[in-house]
């Protein structure tokens, strides 16, 4: 009986043991934290499984061993473990794929330095920018970092001359990226059609060293990689007629072709009284952007742009008044090849840019041919522990050939005044290597370090640009950027400075952004020391510009349809001329930009902007001395440079547009009034022969512009 009882108990226990045959384990992450809700299941019985509890613990019934246990959770790499016997609690570590998004960024080709751009604009933001008139480069005008005092589209960032900053399109620099810049208010003024733009990153200072030849700021523009739909656009304005056509080629490839013709007759006819100096202008341009995706990882983009432009207006300089004539033909071709790998991206970008320009004003005549070739090989790699690095070799060749008749005396510009013939043939080979590292120390803290050095050619000196930058973003509401560095670039030649002059700068900037529900705020403090000699219009040579700046900007929404933007910039700027230091023309105690926008999809969009700043400084003419040899009075400029000031600048402008939608097509009407109050903003003075009387040349007076765009998506 005893034996029988023993057998029975053994039998029962064995069954109980079998019944309780569960695998118990714990799933943790690489930081040893338990993972809640992870999937745990058998490979050979996918439908049977369990999930972990808050402590990462799971208990899974065992069917048949050996089997493979699969453990997975969102955001972690799945694990497979072969289980041959049930033992003690199993510990399973899942590795986070937090770096995956970084890898995705590589795949998406986002710039490695994107965290350090003060602003990032996409196509819609450009179109809805109240001061942009649909133009990419003008969209930055509203930023406090834009300190352009010349009503042009050429980016002037944080007080540095436009020639120190660079505009980069698809990884290649586009020097002088504007057209007819003096004809403000007529539509697109950069060379870039907004329809082809995907994103634009603005680096107000401390240009990322993935690009060279900039000692101030940088604007990086990327064209679109995906075409949502075929589209045809026809635009007709007071001074412009154009067409734009986008067409898909298969599933992922596409082509965008456009052309515009600008003409002045109607615009001058309507605004005759207020554009007394403008004789005429014409522009014809053509662009073609093609994107081909060979396979999931390999793409090629090609952008061809051709422009033929000409203008004539009455200009003054000192005592001479005459027609200023210019015409220019330019064409460039950009090619971008890109190949993605699992953790890296290889790009090869090229540019061929050629132009010729004829210019005449009084006794100044010049014929300029320029060529630019650029090639860059870049390699970006997402390494371990949230470190991304990028390296590349870039070759930038510039050729400047000018045949000019240049006035001997800067103040004697009449056609009969003496000149000298100047023939310049300048070349610059810029071969540079760079290395850029971006380390996400913690999700909210990033450190970026970069270095860029040239391989000297010709008479170039060796230089090594370097930068360091921190981004601290404790939440999506607050962001701090601290960046500093030493940068080099070469000036773009012109008739005053016909050589490639090396310029440099030391900079630091601290930027802060706050993004609230209805309120955005940003602020920056920066300092720059810019080196390199530049000849000014009055023949003086400026060097060593020292700048301190402070910016503040606010965007506040009022209800659902009204938004107010206000920005102010303080700029203290000194330059060295000779052995002394003087303020620069753009030294400003304030530069206020305020825009109120009302946007209602069923009514209209209306923006009123007001810009005001201190008048620019100039060096007054204190007397004049007759020069009998040339029968011209020579102005005697004050020894104290930039001590006089033009009147304060005020400009109130208005833009309005309305969209009408009919099925697949839309019709957009737009109108604008620039300088609504017709304020006489002093730009420069013109003198009579003996410098006894003068008249004022003003910035643009009140002008009207209007037009319509018809868009058809098919």
């Amino acid at each position: 009986m005893k034996n029988k009882s023993f057998i029975l108990i053994f039998f029962l226990l064995s069954h109980l043991a079998f019944a309780q045959k569960n695998l118990v384990g714990k799933v943790i992450d690489d930081a040893k934290q338990p993972i809640f809700a992870a999937n745990v299941y058998w490979k050979n019985a996918v439908q049977t499984g369990t999930t972990t509890d808050f402590d990462g613990v799971f208990q899974l019934a065992v069917r048949q061993l050996p089997d493979t246990l699969l453990v997975s959770f969102i955001g972690y790499e799945s694990q497979q473990i072969v289980i041959s016997k049930v033992s003690d609690t199993l510990k399973i570590t899942l590795v986070s794929t937090a770096g995956l998004l970084q890898e995705v960024s590589v795949v998406a080709q986002d710039p490695i330095s994107q965290d350090f751009s003060v602003t990032k604009l996409d196509k819609i933001q450009i179109y809805t920018n109240p001061l942009a008139a649909g133009d990419a480069l003008k969209a930055i005008t509203l930023l406090p970092a834009s300190t352009n005092t010349e009503e042009t589209a050429n980016p002037v960032l944080r007080g540095s001359s436009a020639d120190r900053s660079r505009v980069v399109l698809n990884g290649v620099p586009i020097y002088n990226p504007v057209r007819n810049s003096q004809l403000n208010g007529l539509g697109n003024f950069s060379l870039f059609n907004t329809e082809i733009i995907h994103k634009m990153y603005v680096y107000a200072s401390n240009p990322p060293l993935t690009y060279g030849n900039s000692s101030a700021g940088l604007i990086e523009i990327e064209t679109i990689k995906k075409l949502p739909t075929n589209q045809l656009q026809i635009a007709l304005g007071l001074a412009n007629a154009g067409a734009f056509w986008s067409k898909k080629l298969g599933k992922k490839n596409f082509v965008q072709v456009y052309g515009n013709r600008q003409f002045s007759e109607a615009f001058i006819g309507l605004n005759k009284k207020n554009v007394p100096r403008l004789n005429n202008f014409t522009t014809t341009d053509f662009g073609c952007n093609t994107f081909i995706q060979f396979n999931e990882n390999t793409t090629w983009n090609s952008f061809v742009y051709l422009i033929d432009e000409g203008f004539s207006y009455k200009n003054h300089s000192y005592t001479y008044e005459g027609n200023n004539l210019a015409n220019k033909q330019r064409g460039f071709w950009i090619n971008n090849f890109s190949k993605k790998y699992a953790h890296s991206l290889l790009t090869f970008n090229t540019l061929a840019d050629k132009s010729r320009q004829d210019y005449s004003f009084g006794n100044l005549q010049s014929a300029v041919h320029q060529q630019q070739f650029f090639a860059a090989l870049n390699y970006k790699y997402v390494g371990f522990k949230n470190i991304t690095w990028q390296t590349g070799l870039q070759y930038d060749y510039s050729n400047y050939e000018a045949n000019s008749k240049v006035p001997i005396y800067f103040y004697a510009l009449s056609p009969t005044a003496p000149t000298f013939k100047a023939k310049n043939l300048e070349e610059n080979h810029l071969l540079e290597w760079y290395f850029y590292t971006s380390w996400d120390i913690r999700p909210e803290l990033n450190l970026s370090v970069a270095s860029r050095l040239n391989i000297p050619t010709g008479t170039q000196n060796f230089h090594n640009s370097k930068q360091i930058a921190f981004r601290y973003q404790p939440s999506n509401k607050h962001r701090w950027l601290l960046s500093g560095g030493n940068y080099y670039n070469y000036s773009t030649p012109n008739y005053l400075n016909p050589k490639f002059v090396q310029l440099d700068s030391w900079q630091f900037a601290l930027d802060y952004d706050f993004k609230g529900k209805n309120l955005d705020f940003s602020s920056a403090i920066f300092h720059k020391q810019e080196g390199g000699e530049q000849t000014l219009l009055n023949g003086l040579v400026s060097k060593n510009v020292n700048t301190w700046g402070f910016e503040v900007a606010l965007q506040k929404e009022f209800g659902k349809y009204v938004v107010l933007n206000v920005a102010n910039t303080f700029l203290s700027q000194r330059q060295q001329i000779g052995e002394k230091e003087y303020r620069t023309a753009d030294d400003m105690a304030y530069f206020v930009k305020a825009v109120a926008t009302f946007r209602h999809p069923k009514i209209a969009s209306l923006s009123v902007s007001y810009m005001t700043r201190e008048g620019r400084y100039y060096t007054p003419v204190v007397s004049a001395m007759y020069q009998p040899a040339i029968d011209t009075y020579q102005p005697i400029l004050s020894q104290e440079i930039n001590t006089a000031q033009y009147n304060a600048y005020h400009n109130v402008s208005l833009t309005v547009n309305r969209l009408f939608k009919v099925n697949k097509s839309a019709l957009i009407f737009f109108a604008s009034v620039n300088n609504l109050l017709n304020t006489q903003n002093e730009r420069q003075f013109f003198f009579d022969k003996e410098y006894k009387n003068w008249t004022v040349d003003t910035y643009q007076l009140q002008t009207f512009y209007m037009g319509a765009v018809w868009q058809w998506n098919y």
């Binding site: 019944a19 808050f54 799971f58 019934a61 933001q125 949502p228 946007r599 209602h600 999809p601």
Partner: protein, 264 residues
Amino acid sequence: MKNLIVFALLLGACQNTGTDVLAAQSYTQQVTVFQADNLMNGIQQKIYNAFVQGMMTQKDEQLAQLKTDLTTLYKQKNQNLIQYWRAYLAYYHAIYALKLGKKDLAEQYTDEGIDLLDEMKGKNSEDYAMLALLQSFSIQFKMGIKAPFISSTVKSNAEKAMQLDKENPRGYFVYASSDFYTPEQYGGGKEAEQYLLKAVALPAQKVQNALLPSWGKEEAYEMLVKLYIKKEKWTEAKKYFQEGIAAYPNSYGINQLASKLVGK
């Protein structure tokens, strides 16, 4: 003794049966057994049921209770997944408020949900999809100034969801949804179809898990049929209606489209 042997055989038979039952259990069943007291178990359905209950009674007591429970649980456990479900609840709470005509409250709940996810560190594909869903939903409250910008943010977050997990149908659905509801003047209405087709082709969950989201596929079917009805592509509308209704026979959203397809 004979009785004992019979009992033992019976027990053995029972245990074997029990093991087979366990082996055949789905995740939900095992988790129910293993984490029976877990608030999170079947949370998506719990939130939906609370929402339906609220609509029927015009009182949001159950939603409010769940909100309190999830908030308490988050304070104890500090898990992103709980935050995710708080945001999901905020979404349904907003729909509830909107249906009752309380637009300001709906906006407040939506913003609460967005804030929960916006501030979340280490977001995964599901978190980005949910964030995009809430942001997309918020567009109706922000018409005017912010609409075009929110739309691009929605697409950007939905893209992140898709990039982080190419097999997450919710990323595709939210992207499509944003495009579907974005006015054409702001660039909408061009990509919805392709993304909806992708969403319905994917499984709602790669592995059945009662703690994780499974929404999106049903909604994608509904939107796809609506899209084809709008475009008057009746063959496609009927095809996806049938597919949708086969997969989700109790779907109110899909079912209510039937009347629009009759006779087409």
